[in-house]
Amino acid sequence: MTTNTTASQTSSGDVSYLSASYGIKSWLLTLDHKRVGILYLIMTTVFFMVGGLFASLIRLELLTPQGDVFEADTYNKLFTMHGVAMIFFFLIPSVPAVLGNFLLPIQIGARDVAFPKLNLLSWYCFMVGGTLATFAIVMGGVDTGWTFYTPYSSTYSSYYVALALSGVFINGFSSILTGVNFLTTIHKMRAPGMTWFRLPLFIWAQYATSVIMILGTPVVAITLLLVALENLFRIGIFDPALGGDPILFQHMFWFYSHPAVYIMIVPGFGVISEVIACFARKRIFGYTFVAFSSLAIALLGFLVWGHHMFTTGQSMYAGMVFSFISFLVGVPTAVKIFNWTATLYRGSISLETPMYYALGFIGLFMLGGLTGLFLSTIAVDIHLHDTYFVVAHFHFVMVGGMVMAYLAGIHFWWPKMTGRMYHEGWSKASALLIFFGFNLTFFPQFVLGYLGMPRRYHVYPEEFQILNVMSTAGASILAVGYLILFAYLFLSLFVGRKAGPNPWRAVGLEWEIPSPPGPHNFDVTPIVTKEAYAYEEADVTRFGGNANDAEGEQIHQEEGAEA
């Protein structure tokens, strides 16, 4: 443990983690949690673009009821690879591995994560898994859907399922390593005075996420191994022809994959708490309720997997228990939304770009959550299961919720990560485009779903066309929004004005060190004396004035200790 030693001579004010060393090797072998975070940022962005490209092609095909752009098999591969790329290689790692890696040690006043080498190893697991999955795509693709249901995936599909599965399997270890690292770091490396209830809510969310990663990910690894064993040694596990049970696969798959949905969304909750506190300049209303609701969601999330299986013929009583617990998950989720809204009450609200995304998140995630209740209600789910209603619900939670939260976080901490500000006008314009495009894409899908249009349909009856055209139109707007976003963020690296240590006048340890931070985060281990979000005590004008100041304001090393 090195947190009690003072920083080495390398961290003078002008050496940042970016300029501490140069060259490919200094990045590929880095043990700096911030650089690992940036490596993840680059690669998850690549997968996001690939997954987004597949999504665009899917929407293009669905513009007309006939299958006139792609062959059926090609279409099936497109939605499979869209799901695999987005879920396993973008959504799961995005907030924890990008923002979590970058910020978690800084926010608790540590110089790095507990196991820096494991941290780098987790990125390599991600890369190996991602490479195998990419290889499966290049070789000819996978057509099973991201859910890999047996016996289709094990016996009937003739494409590169095993290769894709091994990619997902290896990628799982990157989650596990990140989870172990975060839990240990949060337990053991908090700065003096950083008690559990002084932790920023981002840390609580990462904690809950890490618990799910450690408990859930091994189960999907076991499941994928069993599929491999069945294929290699003809042991009947999932294949009914060998005496196995295909429904068992669904139980095991969803035992991981439902909690995995919370791996994707819970860290986003943490981001939203940080952003709302900063731009309302207030403590989060009901801090402990928000903190514990993350844990409640994480734990209850392990007990609801059967709500994906109401139509499989599972026992009536099992169905009722799963439905009941699914409703219970809705409660802590509602508690969070109410507390965020209440935080705005009598605040000092400034609508900067991150706040655009955070407020957009609340609206869209709320719709995602509420439509989740439709799907928890057994009788209604029987009609909606496997229709576009589920697709819409999932995208409201994952894109409307998670991606909006991620973008809120990226826009909030971009100045900290890069030291540069992005263009305000363009960023707000693209946030609005993304919000509008998103709604136009996915809201019609709720209607389509209730009408009965099944998901994963390459061709569809003509009367569904108008709603599909709306959806495709929305997707093009969404795509333009994302492209603008990539453009101005990229340009900001070269032409953005210097951010200074605290462009938002936020409180939190990460805002008390330079932007970008030095290689060891803190020159002097900070001693924490205040609760999180103590905006009422913060000197909001301290770093004030113009963030255009050439170098921002140099932060005095003692100030870290004062805070």
């Binding site: 289709y152 300049r281 013929g313 439905s323 609508l351 439709f374």
Partner: protein, 311 residues
């Protein structure tokens, strides 16, 4: 089935009305909460907008009564909706005694349907109006799902087991039948139609055309051709159990467990005979896995069922 720009599906079964009622309850609750929260977000964002850069609002830590209120009220509402949904699902689970039986087998990429009177159809299901219908579903290959949006019912056809579903159509007409579980290349082509007919017309349809043998007759023929009757004798002297009166009764198997001799048990006993041997018998029976189709299995089961009906 041909509306140009529909926004709501047709209601054509007894369940459709019940499910839609619950759906609209959920929609109203969702609109209430979503509009409420969005109202406050907009209100606060305007009313408490930052007016000067050095504002420092007074801190509010929270409020226990509020936290309790917005925990307990959603909890109660959730439980009400849960109970209503579970209630309808409970009725969906068990078919009424007067339901007629129809059998459907999913295979890549079609639905093959047989009526017990012998009529068979592919990707079409004719049913009488105002009459409960119980469908027994099986699959020859991967998982399929039998989905009739206008009836608000859906059930997976899972290889290796039987699932059942039931509905009572309330409106004469034609409705979509979709395969809802992704099943490979032509998944989206696995579309059929449900034809709801007046009862008399349905009877005419059933007896019209080349009906051939009934399912029981076909099953009896298979039972003989496959040599089942050499062991399963009616005299209780055979090497296998006597099947007369066996269906629907509990049987003790060699592990000491008692299982119900239902469709699933009979199916397993034909395709994987050694898994559940009736106590007192030797595991001599060969498997018929891969040798007879799911439709033939259904016919044999119908025949075995008929051996109990006559009692």
């Amino acid at each position: 089935m041909s509306d140009y720009f529909p926004l709501f599906p047709e209601q054509a079964s007894t369940f459709a009305v019940q499910v839609d009622g619950l759906f609209f309850l959920l929609v109203s609750l969702s609109v209430f909460f979503a509009v409420g929260v969005m109202f406050f977000i907009v209100l606060f964002s305007v009313k408490y907008r930052r007016r000067s850069e050095d504002e420092r609002p007074k801190p509010i830590k929270g409020s226990l009564p509020l936290e309790l209120a917005w925990t307990i009220i959603p909890l109660i509402l959730s439980l009400v909706v849960f109970a209503l949904g579970a209630g309808i699902a409970f009725r969906m689970y068990r078919a009424p005694a007067n339901a007629i039986d129809i059998y459907a087998v999913g295979k890549q990429w079609m639905w093959k349907i047989q009526h017990s009177q012998g009529k068979r159809e592919i990707n079409e299901l004719h049913v009488p109006v105002n009459q409960p219908v119980r469908l027994t579903l099986a699959s020859e290959d991967v998982i399929h799902s039998f989905f009739i949006p206008a009836f608000r019912v859906k059930k997976d056809a899972v290889p290796g087991r039987y699932n059942t579903m039931w509905f009572e159509a309330t409106k004469v007409g034609e409705y979509y039948l979709f395969c809802a579980e992704y099943c490979g290349t032509q998944h989206s082509g696995m579309i059929g139609r449900i034809v709801v007919m007046k009862q008399e017309e349905f009877q005419d349809w059933l007896s019209g055309g080349a009906t051939g043998e009934t399912m029981v007759e076909a099953g009896a023929r298979q039972f003989q051709q496959l040599g089942c009757e050499t062991c399963h004798k009616e005299s209780n002297q055979g090497r296998g159990p006597n099947l007369v009166g066996r269906y629907g009764t509990p049987v003790q198997i060699t592990t000491g467990e008692t299982v119900m001799a239902d469709e699933d048990y009979l199916r397993t006993s034909i395709l994987d005979p050694r898994s559940q041997i009736v106590d007192g018998y030797e595991p001599l029976m060969p498997t018929f896995q891969g040798q007879i189709s799911e439709e033939t299995v259904m016919q044999i089961i119908s025949y075995i069922q008929s051996l109990s009906d006559s009692q």
